[in-house]
Symmetry: C2
Subunit: 366 residues, 2 copies
């Protein structure tokens, strides 16, 4: 399973002092001087424009994802009306839903639709459920910036968790803007959590989701604590949108490098305001990084080195740890935002979900 | 202990579709178009030149470190002779040694010099050793690209571990180029490990180090396995120089952003060749990422989002996990390479070492 690159030619010189600069890029000396000058005083970091190669340290499948162009029209959508939003959302969701059907078939996962106290859900069931997971149930909240991925389009991560973890998963098809801004999504997710935790043992349950689903996972625990509801035995907030404002270093350092979200000034800014609908973006129910993480269940977080939300992931991880919560972090080489969900058959995808499944297996009662 | 920033002004608009672009940078629309065009085909990622602010999500002390200029002359040193190397190394080491004395006094750590089977070491002892740590002993290997930090200059991390973890630490003052290239450093480190593991219970011992010290920590375990020596109960390779070739995505993505190492084409390339002295840079004793990690002791790895070695850290973490090794990862917001060692009194410094100490406490016998 090694993914390490083939030997990179490097002239090895036995002399005490080697002519190493000859191997550095031809323009290095002038760039070095310009950069030293531009960074000679304390302050913001001046970084030059660059062409950054696809790293050979990722699998071929992940390399293809890293090399891919920015995702248009998703990343910088800026619809001018509710009708325009809906047209875009439905068009993207239809494409994703078709792809999901094929992936489920290949992975041997079946999908059923249902409602839980009036909320639409999908139930994902793997071909084989190991005995240890027979009574376990996972609740999934999908990503998409609170606007994308309604319906089957939002079930991809639930399918991967069902397939690679051997779990039964309920994925919440929560209501979204433009018709249903905050708190509709959270109300729906909590309705499903409350209902399922009443009919199943919450010690045998977990909540997980990526991006907006990761933010919602954290907000659900905050709200469950507040409402005195039972908590799940573990959570897996993947690269969580834990802060809807542009706060966190990698919002800037990984801007234009992450080929999924690309920049906060793409659709994210518009989606945040559309969802918040006038609520304070720093309310912990919208930006859970501002909440109190004490008493949270054990958590495993996932991100990538090119992820626009790498800072949100590590800030959440550190805040959980400072609150005394058992929290693990996994960060994948070269990955942009949520890219462990993109190619169902990339080794990194299987690796990410296998780690999450191992973490759940450790913490969920049987 | 919250370090979250004060409220960032954000005009909240209750209307369904908000004039959000007005809040984006003025040049966003033209940059968006140029970037979409530059990234329209699969391939390398085109990233524009930028000025990246100091993140308010770090502590004031860490913000000062993030804002600091590139470290001259350390980062891009390119001495033309052994004499020039020695002059630079001694000058930088003298400065660091003076600073270390003050830090030890403030933290209540004492330093003694000693030799172990002919190898020079420093013994760092905290004012108070908790009962659980009474019989525990840590072996430290310092960083500095196999050239910097001889003598007391290399003891900073050992002092922090002694102070914040309450451990007795032996720090190896291994021989280095230009006079002593590979394998002198590893020979010295192994001599100390072999001798101390013979007189102490290795189940009560750990090995740790940052950067070059992190790479050496990994290489020491590979060599101990090979030589049939006992292994420590845990290791803490901090942002390890696990690959002496320029392999790993953040060598490129964090180039010019990391204000400590800045670029592989600075001193690192020269130091790697000076140390290797004609040996294959991809030999696992020089680049342990190419070694077999099976049977490794539990490991905790530390890095930062701006670290040039973030990829080396996460690649090492993933490879340890794939080998079935218990391995934890902590990544700090906005940090460049090894910056958790820089300001002894920054909250992130204490946090990083407290986590490592907790990990050691979990795995070391008493």
């Amino acid at each position: 399973m090694t993914r390490l690159p083939a030997l990179i030619p490097l002239v090895l010189v036995a002399a005490l002092v080697s002519p190493a600069l000859a191997q550095a890029p031809a323009d290095f000396v002038s760039l070095e001087a310009a950069q030293n000058a531009a960074n000679a005083a304390a302050g913001p970091r001046a970084v030059p424009g660059r062409s950054i190669p696809v790293p050979p340290t990722a699998s071929p499948q992940l390399q293809a994802a890293i090399a891919a162009p920015y995702r248009l029209p998703a990343w910088d959508a800026n619809p001018k009306s509710a009708a325009e939003w809906k047209e875009l959302i439905e068009r993207l969701a239809a494409q994703a839903a078709t792809a999901q059907k094929t992936i489920r078939e290949k992975l041997g996962v079946t999908l059923e639709t249902a409602t839980v106290d009036g909320v639409r859900v999908f139930i994902l069931t793997p071909k084989d459920i190991p005995p240890a997971n027979k009574d376990r149930l996972l609740v999934h909240v999908h990503g998409g910036g609170y606007v994308y991925n309604p319906g089957e389009a939002g079930t991809g991560e639930a399918t991967l968790m069902a397939a690679y973890g051997g779990f039964k998963v309920i994925s919440v098809d929560y209501r979204m803007p433009p018709d249903f801004p905050y708190p509709a999504a959270m109300d729906d997710a909590m309705t499903v959590w409350k209902a399922t935790a009443a009919t199943h043992d919450p010690h045998k349950m977990a909540i997980f989701g990526t991006s907006t689903g990761g933010g919602m996972t954290l907000a659900m625990i905050l709200r469950a604590k507040q409402e005195g509801l039972p908590l799940p035995a573990a959570i897996a907030p993947g690269t969580p949108w834990a802060d809807l404002t542009e706060t966190g270093d990698t919002y800037k350092t990984n801007e234009w490098l992450d080929n999924v979200l690309v920049s906060y000034n793409g659709y994210l800014r518009h989606a945040a305001e559309l969802y918040a609908n006038g609520h304070d973006l720093k309310d912990p129910q919208l930006s859970p990084i501002y909440g109190d993480f004490s008493g949270f269940p054990p958590a495993i977080l996932t991100s990538g080195t090119r992820d626009l939300f790498l800072s949100l992931t590590v800030l959440t991880h550190r805040k959980l740890r400072r609150a005394g919560v058992e929290a693990e972090l996994q960060v994948f080489e070269g990955m942009s935002h949520a890219q462990y969900n993109f190619d169902a058959f990339a080794p990194e995808t299987k690796e990410a979900f296998t780690e999450i499944a191992r973490f759940f297996d450790k913490h969920l009662a049987q």
